[in-house]
Amino acid sequence: MGSPGYEFAVGGGSKSAMPSVSGQDAQTIGEARTWAPQTVEDPRKADLELYRALKRIRSFEELTRSLFQRGEVFGSVHLCIGQEAVSVGVCTAIEPPDLVAATYRGHGHALALGVDPAGLLAEMMGKTTGTCGGRAGSMNVIDLRHRLIGCFGIVGGSIAAATGAALALRRKGGVAVAFFGDGAMNQGYSYECLNLAKVQSLPVVYVCENNQYGEFTPYQAVTAGSILGRPASLDIPARQVDGNDVWAVRSAAVEALEAARKGDGPQFIEAMTYRFSDHGRGDPVRYRAPGEMEAWKARDPLLIARQWITRSHPESDTELFEIDAAVAAEIEEVRIAAAAAPPPDPAARIGEFSVPLDEGLR
């Protein structure tokens, strides 16, 4: 993939790396995602790559869970197990100039954008080699090289960030994408930003991952009307998709991105999915209705993907197992690399980001 060709600074802790007004000295964002299906001509191989992307996120999240349980990942982590198809379906549909704002449940979004899994894991383990040098942790990862403008720890924060990014992209070309959960639909950000995006006709795609629960509370218990009714009331085109079917998500995303790109203004997708993992630390795990988990597990996004591939490309069985093995080996390498990385040196790194008096003025 080529360089998107617009100015993004990716510096090393110094604002001298910020882009100048003319855009000189700025590095560009975006790196080739060798596994991305749009780079693969053969539709069968593209389908296999979508499966690989799902499997990588699942395996990464399972590793994260085990490291969290062993106390090697700290604080709180929010896993996206069960919701992988939303990340992969949308992120494989974006194009080089596009930007993505994700959530505190953002490992899947990050990996689907091509963020290095070893860096992401090292980040959660508080290591210097982390995506953000260990300054961000699980919930707040930023990786501009991979078009991830942030994972937002405030529910609805991603909606605001993407809306603002769309203001810039409207002039430069490109679409901003916001991932957020059903819970964010009840935040002020949601109403205010959707309205602003519509009146300004901003190129932004809002992707609501409806995983049925805001933390531990069923969304129906705290949400008046319907989620789709909200964008509809603002004349924002909105559609609901099966969020566990990566092809369904991808095709809705392609359509929405195309509409936003050609100037039709904001678009909204509600992807129906389910979180197989706990919300995070402190989850009482008593809120799910009997049989609900089992019903959703029968619709596991990885299972759906495997079944589809087996049915559409019966000759691919061996390759599916090869992908499983390759992903397992890759994730094991990721674990080893992150574990071996050195912890940061407080003496060198505390104070690195205090506000300087003499910088920032050009």
């Binding site: 990716v10 002020g188 602003l196 300004q200």
Partner: protein, 325 residues
């Protein structure tokens, strides 16, 4: 000579013309020219880079943050500083932390301009200065000019700065006249607006003007007050204040905000920790710890003014004279 609001408008005009990544938006800033008329005429000169928004402060601040991350230099106007409560998530949780959280990938070059301050009979919820709420937010810069030339020069620098800046415009200063300058002026540098040898008086915005008036009446009594205008509250210019206090040995800090948790306490604490020799007295002149009242006689009595500031200075010097006896 120009007035303060024209200085603001000229600085915005210059930066909009200089850099097409600069955009200006807010409630009634474009067609109407701003409720305080600080943005009049900019729509006509810069077209769709100046635009009106819904009354949605959460969205405005979030959009400014996102646009800045994506390469723009947005200037957003928040009509009254009191509405900063709605802006604080984007500013405090997102913009101010971005440079650190991203490990230096990028900072967030956004400016929030907001009209602050009391004395206009606007009551408790249209008269506050949000500076004290935001003093303890690393990553944020806070600019508080007192004169047109500083308003112009510091606004230019704030727009060109790579960090998020909260730019405070005191509503009682918009019609104040002074020299014109829209040359970039350094953030974080105080200005000694009047020299004196007996006592250092530190303030910002309207407090500087009150301090100058108090200093003038005290001069007639033979008391020399040095008036320091911090101009930037975060980071504030420690060196200039310490040098002045080291000379005068006496400090009075004036602010119209409430006493508890205010920025003047930080100035006093910093001076105390500097272990300067021979410091005799340090005082604060602030508003009381209660919400601002509306009624004109109450509001007038509530706020520091040249008379109460001069009394505080005399009291500080008198206490010293008493303790010397």
């Amino acid at each position: 000579m120009i007035d303060f609001r024209t200085a603001i408008r000229d600085a915005l005009d210059q930066e909009l013309a200089r850099d097409d990544q600069v955009v200006l938006f807010g409630e009634d800033v474009a067609f109407a020219g701003g409720v305080f008329q600080a943005t009049a005429g900019l729509l006509e000169r810069h077209g769709d880079r100046v635009f009106d928004t819904p009354i949605s402060e959460l969205a405005l601040a979030g959009a400014a943050f996102g646009a800045a991350v994506a390469g723009m230099r947005p200037v957003v106007e928040i009509m009254f500083g009191d509405f900063m409560t709605l802006v604080m998530d984007s500013l405090v949780n997102q913009a101010a932390k971005y440079w650190s959280l991203s490990n230096g990938q990028r900072s967030v070059p956004m400016v929030v301009r907001t009209t602050v301050g009391a004395g206009g009979r606007f009551g408790a919820i249209h008269s506050q200065n949000p500076a004290n709420w935001l003093m303890s937010v690393p990553g944020l810069k806070l600019v508080a000019p007192a004169f047109p030339k500083d308003a112009g020069g510091l606004l230019v620098s704030s727009i060109r700065d790579d960090d998020p800046v909260l730019f405070l415009e005191h509503k009682r200063l918009y019609s104040v006249k002074g020299e014109r300058s829209i040359e970039p002026a350094p953030l974080g540098k105080a200005s000694i607006v009047k020299e004196g040898g007996d006592l250092t008086l530190v303030s910002v915005m309207v407090g500087v003007h009150h301090g100058l008036a108090a200093a003038e009446s005290l001069r007639e009594e033979g008391i020399g007050v040095e008036v320091v205008d911090l101009r930037t509250l975060r980071p504030w210019d420690v060196d200039t204040v310490l040098a002045s206090v080291d000379k005068t040995k006496r400090l009075v800090v004036v602010d119209e905000g409430p006493r508890t948790g205010g920025w003047p306490a930080d100035v006093l604490a910093t001076v105390a920790e500097a272990d300067l020799s021979g410091i005799v007295t340090m005082r604060r002149v602030t508003a009381p710890d209660e919400p601002l009242p509306y009624s004109p006689p109450l509001e007038d009595a509530f706020l520091p003014n040249p008379t109460t500031i001069a009394e505080a200075v005399r009291e500080a010097l008198g206490a010293e004279a008493r303790s010397a006896r």
